[in-house]
């Protein structure tokens, strides 16, 4: 009881104890911090953002209304496209390994292949003129909007421009570096 009633005093032992605790803590932190930075993935050598040149099966000017041309990301060097927008499982900046050039109502769009539900690759259903997802049955109109769930968001767009001639397009992407 006498101890509890005694006023709290700053003693030399107290100060030394706290000092040691601070020194030990800072030593531990300075030891662990570089390890955490080490664990954060370093981009592999050769990883580079930039437009990827894609040769299309059908030249741009010959794509007719309602026609779909599928293309894949180049595999040498290993590359992926970068989505411009997206909802659900897709988000701007996410990667896609394939896409579609679609002409609807006179407008040409380039869509990423990833379903907005959980990311499976959608495929063209030529008889119904829709993109169908094989995983959970989501369906999309050719302009990428949802026809049937479980997907709730439209397909993502890719940022693109025509290449040197109408046979190629340049799509924003990433050379993965592995």
């Amino acid at each position: 009881m006498a101890d509890a009633a005694a006023p709290k005093r700053v003693t030399r032992r107290n100060i030394l104890g706290w000092g040691m605790a601070i020194i030990l803590t800072s030593l531990t932190v300075t030891g662990i911090a570089p390890i955490l930075v080490y664990l954060w993935p370093a981009p592999p050598k050769g990883q580079k953002k930039g437009p990827l040149t894609i040769a299309l099966d059908t030249p741009l000017d010959q794509i007719s209304e309602g026609q779909v041309v599928k293309f894949n990301a180049p595999s040498s060097p290993n590359s992926a496209f970068i989505m411009a927008d997206g909802g659900g499982d897709n988000a701007p900046g996410d990667l896609a390994f394939g896409g579609f050039v679609v002409k609807t109502q006179g407008k040409t769009d380039v869509l990423a292949i990833n379903c907005s539900h959980l990311g499976c690759s959608v495929a063209l259903n030529a008889s119904a003129n829709t993109f169908d997802c094989p995983c959970h049955g989501s369906r999309f109109h050719l302009d990428g909007t949802v026809l049937h769930g479980p997907a709730q968001y439209p397909l993502s767009h890719l940022t693109w421009q025509q290449g040197q001639d109408s046979k190629t397009i340049e799509v924003d992407g990433l050379i993965l570096g592995f």
């Binding site: 993935p41 990667l95 990433l174």
Partner: protein, 231 residues
């Protein structure tokens, strides 16, 4: 010179060792423990079976690591072709890999049975709660081992299963934390060669070391507490 009886040589060796460390005493204490009658029921063996299975996993894992190449670059990647090689070309490779594969599946079943027994007989009660907690940690470690091992063959099933599990881990709220977890687990923006490297490191170095350490703690606790009497 008289030829010594083998037993005399044995005694001499044991005596030489015992003079330097009490080996006989230590081994006696570790080996010769009376098992209470109630612990003779077959369901008290589940924990021991888990132990045997883990030892089997360590042994077959070491044998697999002799031929496995944790490299996912290129197509087909060495990771995939080396598993193919183990399965089809290495002498008894199919058996070693089969035991490792089925052992992992049976291990999870046995762990759950062991857990059910401990729960059923109330063996988690005071003062044994810490051992239950250590057991839960080992259950989680075994599940992570199974998950990380699943990616190593680097076939389509492995790749997309890992894609899904990383996506689940990456959905942890808040979004920034989920994205952080996803990037660290993948080792980059997509599931690729860095992911295999990380999973391989966890599966082969980190997790086995942790589980062996926790098994030691688990067994020391059992020895300290004795086998719990049933309810």
């Amino acid at each position: 010179m008289a030829i010594p009886h083998p037993r005399e040589i044995q005694l001499a060796v044991v005596q030489w060792l015992d003079e330097r460390y009490p080996f006989t005493k230590t081994v006696d204490e570790a080996m010769y423990q009376r098992v209470p009658n109630f612990a003779n029921a077959f369901y008290y063996c589940f924990g021991g079976m888990v132990f045997v299975l883990i030892v089997l996993q360590l042994l077959t894992g070491i044998l697999l690591a002799i031929y496995y190449v944790p490299d996912a670059r290129g197509n087909p990647a060495p990771a995939y072709t080396s598993v193919n090689f183990i399965q089809n070309d290495v002498y008894l490779g199919w058996l070693i890999r089969g035991v490792h594969f089925w052992g992992a599946n049976i291990l999870i079943i046995m762990v759950l049975l062991h857990m059910a027994r401990v729960y059923w007989t109330g063996s988690y009660r005071a003062p044994r709660e810490l051992n239950w907690i250590v057991g839960i940690l080992m259950l989680l470690l075994i599940l992570v081992l199974a998950l990380s091992g699943y990616l190593l063959p680097w076939d389509t099933k492995a790749y997309f299963a890992t894609e899904v599990t990383i996506k689940i881990a990456g959905s942890a709220p808040p979004a920034a934390l989920g994205a952080f977890i996803k990037t660290v687990l993948q080792g980059g923006p997509v599931v690729g060669p860095p992911t295999l490297q990380i999973f391989f490191t966890a599966h082969v170095f980190l997790l086995p070391a942790l589980i062996v350490l926790l098994m030691y703690v688990h067994f020391r606790f059992i020895r300290a507490h004795g086998i719990a009497e049933p309810l």
